[in-house]
Symmetry: C2
Subunit: 335 residues, 2 copies
């Protein structure tokens, strides 16, 4: 299997992208193509031991930065590490692409270069959400701020296939994120979405209230990208605030300081549950190719885990499965 | 000043409502009217010491339960503790009402009996949101699942007045909850709302991302009731999950158990920051009368704090101030 890593994407590129690539080829049965500035990448690669034949470099003269406008940069920067990488997947010269670069550009590139799976109106980001039970998937995690009811149905199909095939959850429980569990609750779009999802080809279990998301009540949480982004970012902000508040309380006197010392490993174990680097990246579900968006501040471990995630995605034919499931909806019902 | 407490509202009525009323008259310069089942209330009152002339009972033969349909119950149960209480405020026989009862019915009752302040299209719930810095206000906390851009502007006016007059925050920073800080981010409604709020008669500071809400970046967070409910409930659920995860980690070995013991008071101080009973209830801003929704599971302390909050609301003329500010918007612009 061949996975492209956009070597120039992310806050710490190409250091961490190269590190992740090396860790991946040393851990998994996979070949990596690094797209980007060849001299820079080669310089980084000299630091590591790895089977040379498993990493290939394709030189690119351009780079898309976080300041670039999404659609324009994809159209104009034809020789950027991101565009070249996406084309390799499009032309079946690679099985998947991972990028920690400009999210907007990557989503635009996915749509423009890979295209959509037939029957999918709106591809969606599907980040993992760590819960007290394990992990849920959130679809849409932020690609589409405004959604039609039909989009929720597609999100349910895609999230369910992904949860089953990549996260190995049997008959994943799909729920619409809502402000009450009763069917008649919600805003107008979610109310309509609920009706459609009830007839969807997945294990739909009605609404989930936001208070029940962290305990893992739903395996797949379906929502528009606005709500998904609020859920993800609020979780991130709250975890950070709670840690900083705990720290404040824990240094207020000597007893507490000793207590905190004894709990150090416990707090570390706890923090790790919220560590996104464990979970790889968020796939952009619904495009016609395996595309994984890694966090901008990913480290080598996160990139390596994104590679493992991509291999499972390919091996378990997630795209083919989505394409098949989606035909059962009747593509003609897209408004 | 006279404050009505709906003695029959809430999970533990009339025990905690009577307890809260007694604590309030013993703490503040205030008179309380308890609406509800007279024999039950009198029975409870015999348990306490308090100045008898400061608590009055108005007997009601009916009660609105959590199972009742909002609008129907307000229209039909004319002699319920909630409807009778609201009418006392409407007829200026009392200055404010507090209820821990059926939220939907209370909001419907507020609209139907008290009516709206002239120029306000949609009244909104404004719960306090505890942050690492202190407290913010969230408007709308859940009254209106679907909102028009103009409603956000009204929420900004009302939230700003409430924050300044009741929470004593000078020139409160008002922000729209959004998925990015840039002006062009968001769904269609929020983008339009942002444009209107820029011209609003308050200290508008653009968008706040959900990740920055827990640190208190904004004093007033303006959003539709769907988003507001998601923010509140997710915070509640996450705090609960994080405590339970911490507990799991803290009993894994003896060292940790000792550590946790030494930190017990620290953890308690920490938990108190998330204790809603400290903050009273959520006012229903925009109705023409002071109406405070207390949490269904309020205890006596929460009811007492809601009384304090109501007195500040009345003393600082929040309604008159909102009515005045709202005229500057031009009421005729309501679509």
């Amino acid at each position: 299997m061949k996975i492209v890593i956009d070597a120039m994407g992310g806050d710490n590129a190409p250091f961490v992208t190269v590190e992740g690539a090396v860790e991946a080829v040393n851990s998994y049965d996979v070949n990596i193509i690094l797209t980007g500035n060849q001299p820079l990448i080669e310089g980084e690669l000299t630091k590591y031991e790895y089977p040379k034949e498993k990493i290939e470099i394709i030189h690119c003269s351009e780079q898309i930065t976080n300041e670039d406008k999404p659609v324009i940069s994809i159209r104009r920067k034809k020789d950027s590490s991101m565009v070249v990488g996406l084309k390799l997947v499009k032309e079946k010269k690679a099985d998947a692409i991972i990028s920690a670069g400009n999210t907007g550009a990557l989503l635009a590139g996915g749509l423009l270069i890979l295209g959509r799976i037939k029957g999918i109106d709106r591809p969606a980001l599907a980040p993992v959400y760590p819960t007290t039970k394990g992990m849920s998937v959130l679809v849409d995690g932020g690609a589409n701020a405004d959604c039609k009811p039909r989009n929720f149905l597609e999100f349910g199909v895609m999230g369910s296939v992904y949860s089953e095939k990549v996260l190995s959850i049997k008959q994943p429980k799909v729920c619409t994120a809502n402000i009450g569990i009763e069917e008649e609750k919600g805003n107008d779009v979610v109310k309509e979405a609920h009706k459609l999802c009830k007839e969807g080809p997945f294990n739909f279990q009605g609404n989930v209230e936001a208070r029940d998301i962290p305990s893992g009540y739903a395996d797949v949480i379906v929502c528009d990208g606005f709500t998904g982004n609020i859920i993800l970012k609020l979780t991130e902000g709250l975890a950070t605030s709670i840690f900083s508040l705990l720290k404040q309380e824990f240094v207020k006197n000597t007893f507490r300081k000793i207590g905190a010392l004894l709990l150090k490993s416990g707090l570390k174990d706890f923090k790790e549950r919220f560590d996104y680097t464990e979970y790889g990246g968020a796939p952009f579900l619904g495009v016609n190719g395996v595309l994984i968006k890694a966090h901008g501040s990913s480290d080598g471990k996160a990139i390596k885990n994104a590679v493992r995630q991509a291999t499972k995605f390919v091996e378990n034919k997630v795209i083919e499965n989505i394409a098949e499931e989606i035909t059962t909806l009747g593509a003609d019902t897209i408004e």
